[in-house]
């Protein structure tokens, strides 16, 4: 009868293994194979250099708007590296690094952000969903995938990405609730980069952590240093393992920072202090991991220079291929493809109409 405290077995951990100064917690340091560590580093570096190049191309008007990813590399690579290729990746719009890890092509990124729908195509053997722009919405698909996986007795796992802002959407909470109720094999990766365009994390939610939102659904939640690729990876491995073995979903909040613009259409000078950015620059995940690998002798200065050079070439070749493609004439009728399994009579009619329009006045259709 009395009023008493309900004993709930909940708490939220914070995990950090390799800190910003480069010191490592030896008890937590994972014993990862060297080739895995090197691959993680290469994809992080590729992502960084590609982001820089895309920004440059966008500023020259050669591609359109895209979301920058500089600073998020540890969050994306650390987590995705815990997946098998048979698992599912459900991205938002910022996870270039995770998509690259899973075989995504640089050329397709360039073409997609160069305005070509064709580049949305996902190879048959890759279980990545296309990027999802409506914030938070993709969390629901992940849970449906997870339920379907269980219903077919498979041990695949789904990893879904979203930002701090997305945790304000009903979609996210509905997804977490279903995931809890149905114990679906889903790993929710909240990429908390401190900003949702101009709205800071502190004004997005009154909760002290985003990880604690899991507790309301009786799902394990953990907060990790999202700029520490070892910590992100350790948390992801644990969550993926739990999901794969029937232990249900996990929410991982990766505390990171958007070092660059929200998208190329954004001007952060309007809403955030350079001083704050400077603090986070010191926590940059890339040099931190690089120094760790150098200190361990896994990476050497000369190997690093070689990797930089190889990445430069890889990017240049992709840019060349994409630009060649973009110089070829565009087939406007392609817009009628992939609307349904079979084109409807109305679409056939409209397609013919556009063909006639093109024949009648090629090049002057745009209303400019």
């Amino acid at each position: 009868m009395p009023r008493e405290k309900i004993d709930l077995p909940y708490s939220v951990d914070y995990l950090s293994i390799l800190d910003a100064d480069g010191s490592v917690d030896k008890t937590l340091e994972p014993a990862l194979p060297e080739d895995l560590l090197l691959r993680m580093h290469r994809v992080m570096l590729l992502n960084r250099r590609f982001d820089e190049r895309m920004l440059h191309l966008q500023r020259q008007g050669r591609i359109g708007t895209f979301a920058l990813t500089t600073g998020h590399e540890a969050t994306f690579v650390g987590s995705v590296a815990a997946l098998r290729s048979s698992d599912w990746l459900v991205p938002s719009y910022r996870e270039a690094a995770a998509i690259l890890w899973r075989g995504g092509s640089l050329e397709n990124f360039l073409l997609y952000f160069g305005g070509y729908d064709e580049a949305g195509w996902v190879p048959e053997d890759v279980k990545n969903l296309p990027i999802s722009i409506p914030v938070g919405s993709q969390t629901q698909h992940a849970v449906g995938l997870g339920w379907a996986i269980r219903s077919r007795g498979s041990d695949e796992v789904v990893m879904v990405y979203f930002g701090d802002g997305a945790t304000s959407q009903g979609d996210f909470h509905e997804a977490m609730n279903f995931a809890g109720v149905y114990q679906t094999p889903v790993v929710f990766i909240c990429q908390n980069n401190q900003w949702a365009i101009s709205v800071p994390r502190s004004r997005q939610s009154h909760s002290r952590t985003l990880a604690q939102k899991a507790l309301a659904y009786d799902i394990p939640g953990i907060q990790v240093d999202g700029n520490d690729v070892l910590a992100v990876h350790a948390a992801a491995v644990e969550a993926v393992e739990r999901a794969r073995t029937g232990g249900g979903p996990t929410l991982i909040e990766c505390v990171t920072y958007r070092l660059s613009l929200h998208t190329t259409a954004d001007d952060p000078k309007r809403y955030r202090d350079d001083a704050e950015v400077a603090i986070w620059m010191k926590r940059d995940p890339l040099p931190r991991f690089q120094n760790y690998l150098l200190a361990k002798g896994i990476l050497t200065e000369s190997k690093l220079a070689e990797t930089e050079e190889a990445i430069k070439t890889e990017i240049q070749e992709a840019v060349d291929r994409a630009e060649t493609r973009m110089k070829e004439p565009v087939d406007p009728l392609h817009m009628f493809e992939h609307m349904y399994a079979e084109r409807t009579p109305a679409l056939e009619e409209q397609r013919d109409e556009l063909s006639r329009e093109l024949a009648a006045g090629k090049g002057d259709l745009s209303h400019g």
Binding site: S168, S198, D364
Partner: protein, 326 residues
């Protein structure tokens, strides 16, 4: 009179209404400190403070539902959807409640809110950032759906929308936001909702459009005059719902021919309603099939093809010539 872009004119409307009426509140994602991603709300939070201009968490359904609560209390919320492509989260609140509360409470409550959203193509944007889905809102009884075409009418219509006693969805053509400037008077100017305008007079054919598509439509009218000696009458609907059919049905009784232009997909688009009204009210004057120049029934293409998707002056002029030669 100052020459202004549509962004500046909308900003002026918001500022002046906020100065006149302290019940007017602006809310949405990034509308405060950042002044909105298109800067329509620029400077408002500095001037009126964060109790009048709210940077909300990211949740469109809640932004709409929250606005309904504010309006029920007697405030005049103006909420912004960052892009109309994200306003579908808000449709449930608009359909289930904003549009119905007056009726449900049999006149006791009303929901005088405005939901603003940039819409439309032509700005080389990402997926979900170019659509024109006004038909979804226009189909909901109890809502008004307004779509200005230039800086001056945008300002005057927004003022009317803010003062309207019922919920108004206000779609702003982002392709027009900074495309040109127009004289906009500093003094108050209000255009009543639910009234179309004849923006060019002519006897030969009636061209009907609204929003961003008014510009290629007017360019087509110029071309028809120059090259064909045809005098087109051009009508700007301004409000899609409730639809004012008085001017265009009357015009068609004079011209006997009509072309309807919108960038929304053709099937079940606002054009279908316009055509139905012409058939119902001006059938005996028709001399040719009515032509619709619209977006196609496809997912709005990424920008490599958006110029082929969007109706342009040449396409509109060709449709008009077909109607004229039928």
């Amino acid at each position: 009179m100052a020459k202004m872009t549509m962004v500046q004119a909308l900003n002026m409307a918001l500022r002046q209404e906020m100065e006149k009426d302290d019940r007017v509140v602006v809310l949405g994602e990034d509308v405060g400190v950042n002044g909105g991603v298109f800067r329509v709300t620029e400077g408002l939070q500095q001037q009126f403070g964060d109790q009048r201009v709210l940077d909300t968490p990211l949740a469109e359904s809640m932004i709409a539902g929250f606005s309904i609560g504010m309006a029920l209390y007697g405030l005049r919320p103006i909420c912004e959807m960052q892009f109309s492509g994200f306003s579908y989260y808000a449709i449930h609140q608009l359909e289930a409640h904003a549009s119905r509360l007056r009726h449900r409470s049999q006149g006791r409550y009303s929901v005088p809110m405005v939901l603003r959203a940039p819409y439309g193509g032509g700005v080389r944007a990402l997926e979900h950032h170019s659509e024109s889905r006004e038909a979804l809102f226009a189909h909901i009884p109890g809502l008004k759906m307004v779509m200005p075409s230039g800086p001056r009418n945008a300002r005057a219509l927004l003022v009317a929308a803010i003062r309207d006693p019922d919920p108004v969805v206000f779609f702003e053509p982002k392709a027009v936001y900074r495309a040109f400037r127009e004289e906009v008077p500093e003094e108050e100017e209000v255009l009543p909702l639910g009234r179309s305008q004849v923006v060019r007079e002519g006897d030969d054919i009636t061209l009907i459009s609204y929003g961003a598509m008014m510009h290629p439509t007017l360019a087509a009218a110029d071309e028809l005059k120059e090259k064909d000696g045809v005098e087109a009458e051009v009508i700007d609907l301004l409000t899609v719902s409730p639809l004012d059919d008085s001017l265009f049905t009357q015009s068609v009784r004079k011209t006997g021919r009509a072309v309807l232009v919108h960038e929304a997909p053709r099937s079940f688009g606002p054009g279908a309603e316009v055509v139905a009204r012409i058939v119902e009210k001006s059938f005996w004057s028709l001399e040719a099939p009515i032509r619709r120049v619209t977006g196609y029934d496809v997912i709005f293409p990424l920008f490599a093809r958006e110029g082929d998707y969007l109706p342009g002056a040449a396409r509109i002029a060709r449709a008009a010539r077909e109607a004229l030669s039928a």
